[in-house]
């Protein structure tokens, strides 16, 4: 094969991979080799995430991004994440970042509004901030944030439709020792504990109190705060809690 034929074959191969039709000189071929690499990289990214996220149709995300291998460089989803099952989804992962910002930067939405199971959603995760964690009002929320010891902010937490979270467990925020900011949406109807969160802001504390269900006609539930938070509650706040037939513990 002549040198000319070999060069034509290389140009054909570049055009085949990059999809171009233009005649390629030597300089363009040098650039083309780089384009082949980038095209291959994109194709591999697409192949991986198309498969992992079922072309955006995946709804069962149980343990999908669980484990220390998942960090911000690797967790670069192609499609929105809209799970029905999110059991352990981000558990034990190495996302030591603002997850809400990370997904915003990628143009990805984490939508839990149809989610039935958030059990251990961020269990032992290194995440620092999460966005809206608004789920089905019947969702299992036990240990959702438990042991996420670096978690500082939960933008919003509660039932997506403004209804009542009925399967919140006392361990949902267990060991959230860095938690400062949380805004509650909807109603908290069952025992809830922030026992290990001494840094909650005044606004966060008030948000929790304001969203406690009025239980005056039903069984009392308990609201537990860290001793440091409880010591700073005002008489008005304490009265607001017990007036709704909640027992305050700190």
């Amino acid at each position: 094969m002549s040198v000319n034929a070999k060069m034509t074959a290389i140009a054909d191969a570049i055009r085949d991979k990059t999809g171009g039709t233009k005649k390629l000189g030597l300089d363009a071929m040098a650039v083309g080799v780089g384009e082949v690499y980038e095209t291959g990289k994109q194709a591999e990214y697409d192949r991986f995430w198309d498969e992992l996220q079922d072309y955006g149709n995946r709804t069962d995300y149980r343990f999908a991004f669980a484990g220390r291998c998942w960090n911000a460089k690797i967790l670069q989803p192609k499609y929105n994440i809209k799970p029905v099952q999110a059991y352990g989804l981000f558990s034990y992962n190495n996302m030591n970042v603002d997850l809400a910002q990370h997904f915003d930067d990628l143009g990805i939405e984490l939508d839990l509004t149809n989610c039935e199971n958030l059990y251990q959603l961020f269990y032992y995760s290194d995440v620092i901030r999460v966005g809206k964690i608004l789920c089905s009002n019947t969702a299992q929320c036990g240990s959702a944030f438990a042991n996420a010891t670096k978690l500082v902010t939960i933008d919003e937490f509660g039932a997506a439709d403004g209804g009542e979270i009925t399967k919140l467990l006392s361990g949902t925020f267990s060991q959230c020792t860095a938690l400062r900011n949380i805004t509650i949406r909807g109603i908290l109807g069952v025992n809830v504990s922030f026992q290990h969160s001494p840094l909650l802001t005044t606004e966060s504390i008030q948000s929790v109190i304001d969203h406690l269900k009025d239980l005056t006609e039903s069984t009392a539930q308990t609201l537990t705060f860290h001793a440091a938070v409880g010591a700073n509650l005002t008489d008005v706040q304490k009265a607001a809690i017990t007036a709704k037939n909640w027992t305050l513990v700190y």
């Binding site: 042991n147 504990s193 009265a239 027992t247």
Partner: protein
């Protein structure tokens, strides 16, 4: 103007002790006035730490 009187029962644990209902625990428990406070018992700090460990394992 609205005025509402809210009565409460406040339980305070003795020095070195905690109050628990088996589910949660703390040094102070503020109950609605007509709530049943018999469910709350005092435990030692050692028992409290053990309770936290059990909770951690359960989660």
């Amino acid at each position: 103007m609205k005025m509402k009187t809210v009565e409460q029962r406040i339980l305070t644990a003795d020095e070195g002790k905690y109050l628990t209902n088996g589910e949660t625990a703390g040094k102070t428990v503020v109950l609605p006035a007509d709530a049943d406070y018999s469910a709350w018992t005092e435990i030692t700090e050692e028992a409290y730490i053990k309770m936290l460990e059990v909770q951690l394992e359960r989660e």
